[in-house]
């Protein structure tokens, strides 16, 4: 049971929140928040502490191993940040039930990272997805409903296609577990149906990762969801997706044709996300497009299909969560100050004067997203692209780097607003609560540390991947 500690902690948290949901008003909400934070932190610690062992459970449909534990820790940490962000979000999205969705979603993602059978994978994915759909809708205005519906319907189609793919895989391999897939895959690498099945299956993953061609929901959902939920979608959900893809690809291998297909999608994702982001004024929407582009980068690393690729994907997912947390932390502070859950770039005017530290964190997060050294995002991109280059995907790598240059344009635009433009007349200094300050400091330190000395995390990722892939 100790190996399922993380999941059990979530479960406990969910039950607790369920009880609290009976109550109404501010006090139970605070309790729920506290309980949620406690759960998240405990889950993070639990997964970090049990990251040494490898256990197979439930007849090989679920694994607890260093890689999944790593992803779980990332998801839990991101969850903690998101929960904290709800504190300053719009009031209608701060009902007690909402915390239940957060925890369920995180639990779903956690289960995703460990699933090695298609049934558990499917259920875990849907658990996280439905919670996220509901979170996206929790602002309860027209736009939120619209965004959530688009999110949901795209997700439903993606699951449908995924199910089809899985069914074909079952037919081809004779089993519904990754183990069966691994066993049968070598004989199937040149079978077009197998490739097709992989492609169909990956639709759900691409949807989670918000990669082309099922990325369309992302800008709308990011924009319309409450900030904290957006953050969860942008961080934990991505990490879960990367975990699942890694596992799936480790099991199936990456046939050349499939790598080519994924490369094409990565190519389009990057280009589309980055260029579209150039025209955004709403910061959340901008970050959504940025995440589409980032999905392209991550795919580039993953399609290498090597241990390097998977470990660098883990590293990048961690870093990605970190830097997006940083960015959204600042965005939420600005949003709370502006009493507008959808801040535009204009709201960032004069941030450096109003709150220099926050501006610095924003700067570092954005530069890290753009892959500028000596920040974590740079190292992440380096290892990611290095893995892709090893497999000869030089064009994709080159394209990816060129794309990050383009991305720098819109990141810098935001930086420019915070550093160069004058704050509107009469604006006050932006106050930070100690916890927020601490969080920001931690993110700051993490970005710099992982940029300058990424060794421990990279080595961890490598050993974790080699523990699975052998």
């Amino acid at each position: 049971m100790t190996s399922l500690m993380t999941e059990l902690i979530y479960l406990t948290g969910i039950l607790g929140t369920l009880c609290l949901a009976i109550g109404r008003g501010e006090r139970p909400r605070r309790w729920a928040l506290g309980l949620g934070l406690l759960t998240a932190v405990a889950a993070a610690i639990a997964s970090a502490c049990s990251s040494g062992s490898v256990t197979e459970l439930f007849g090989g449909t679920y694994r607890v191993d260093p890689l999944s534990q790593g992803y779980k820790a990332v998801i839990a940490s991101a969850l903690a940040v998101c929960l904290w962000l709800t504190e300053r979000g719009p009031s209608e999205s701060r009902r007690v039930e909402v915390y239940l969705f957060y925890l369920c979603s995180a639990l779903g993602l956690t289960l995703m990272t460990g699933s090695t059978g298609f049934v558990s994978l499917y259920v875990a994915m849907e658990l996280s997805s439905y919670s996220l759909y509901l979170l996206a809708a929790s602002r309860e205005d027209r736009r939120a409903t619209e965004g959530a519906l688009r999110y949901l319907l795209t997700g439903a189609i993606a699951s449908g296609v995924f199910l089809w793919g899985v069914s074909i895989l079952c037919g081809l391999t004779g089993g519904a577990t990754f183990a069966a897939l691994t066993q049968a895959a070598p004989a199937l690498t040149s079978d077009p149906l197998f490739i097709g099945a992989l492609a169909l299956t990956s639709f759900a993953f691409l949807f989670k990762l918000s990669a082309f061609p099922v990325h369309f929901w992302a800008p709308d959902a990011y924009q319309s969801a409450p900030l904290a939920a957006t953050t969860l979608i942008a961080t934990a959900s991505k990490a879960g997706a990367v975990a699942v893809i890694s596992r799936f690809l480790i099991a199936s291998g990456v046939p050349v044709a499939f790598a080519g297909w994924t490369g094409l999608l990565a190519f389009v994702s990057m280009t589309l996300g980055n260029t579209a982001a150039l025209h955004q004024a709403d910061v959340k929407r901008l970050l959504a497009y940025s995440s589409i582009a980032q999905a392209g980068y991550i795919l580039t690393g993953l399609l290498a299909g090597t241990a390097d690729g998977y470990s660098s994907a883990f590293f990048y997912a961690t870093v990605y969560a970190l830097m997006n947390c940083g960015a959204f932390l600042v965005v939420s502070a600005v949003a709370a100050d502006a009493k507008n859950d959808n801040p535009t770039v204009r709201h960032f005017d004069g941030l450096a004067d109003r709150q220099p530290f926050l501006a610095l964190v924003l700067l570092l997060s954005l530069l890290s997203l753009a892959g500028i050294p000596p920040l974590a995002g740079f190292t992440g991109k380096w290892v990611l692209f290095s893995a892709a280059m090893d497999q000869g995907h030089w064009f994709l790598v080159l394209w990816g780097v060129l794309n990050s240059v383009v991305s720098l344009f819109y990141y810098l635009t935001l930086v420019k607003h915070s550093y160069l433009e004058k704050a509107p007349a009469g604006s006050q200094p932006l106050r930070l609560t100690p916890v927020t300050r601490l969080l920001a400091l931690a993110i700051f330190a993490g970005l710099v540390f992982l940029g300058v000395y990424p060794t421990p995390l990279i080595e961890y990722a490598r050993s974790a991947v080699s523990a699975i892939a052998g």
């Binding site: 049934v119 439905y130 688009r150 319907l153 439903a156 089993g175 929407r285």
Partner: protein
């Protein structure tokens, strides 16, 4: 005839494509949802068929189908409440009426 896979696959493929067609063309979100159900059904038909003919564990396909049915219920539940919410907000369930978010 019923003892081979091919007819089932043909039926499920047809269901899938009809469902896709419906999803893409209907101007009513509930109709879209109905089409989605077709897709899910085609998938579960697939699973059961593969489970019957080609899988090592004969129950695996059915188990999968059970989960699909259960999750379809959840999906419909969430989707319908969202659609009704949209209807309350906008007096319309036409997907084209969702036009607030773009660009």
């Amino acid at each position: 005839m019923s003892a081979t896979l091919q007819p089932y696959l043909l039926i499920s493929t047809l269901l899938l494509c009809l469902g896709l067609y419906g999803v893409l063309t209907r101007r009513n979100l509930i109709a879209v949802l109905i089409s989605l159900e077709l897709i899910l059904n085609s998938a579960s038909l697939n699973f059961v068929a593969f489970g019957r003919f080609h899988m090592a564990d004969p129950s695996a396909g059915q188990v999968f189908a059970i989960f699909i049915i259960a999750l379809a219920a959840a999906e419909v539940c969430v989707a319908l409440s969202l659609i009704l919410l949209l209807f309350r907000q906008r007096r319309s369930v036409d997907p084209a009426s969702m036009d607030q978010l773009k660009g």
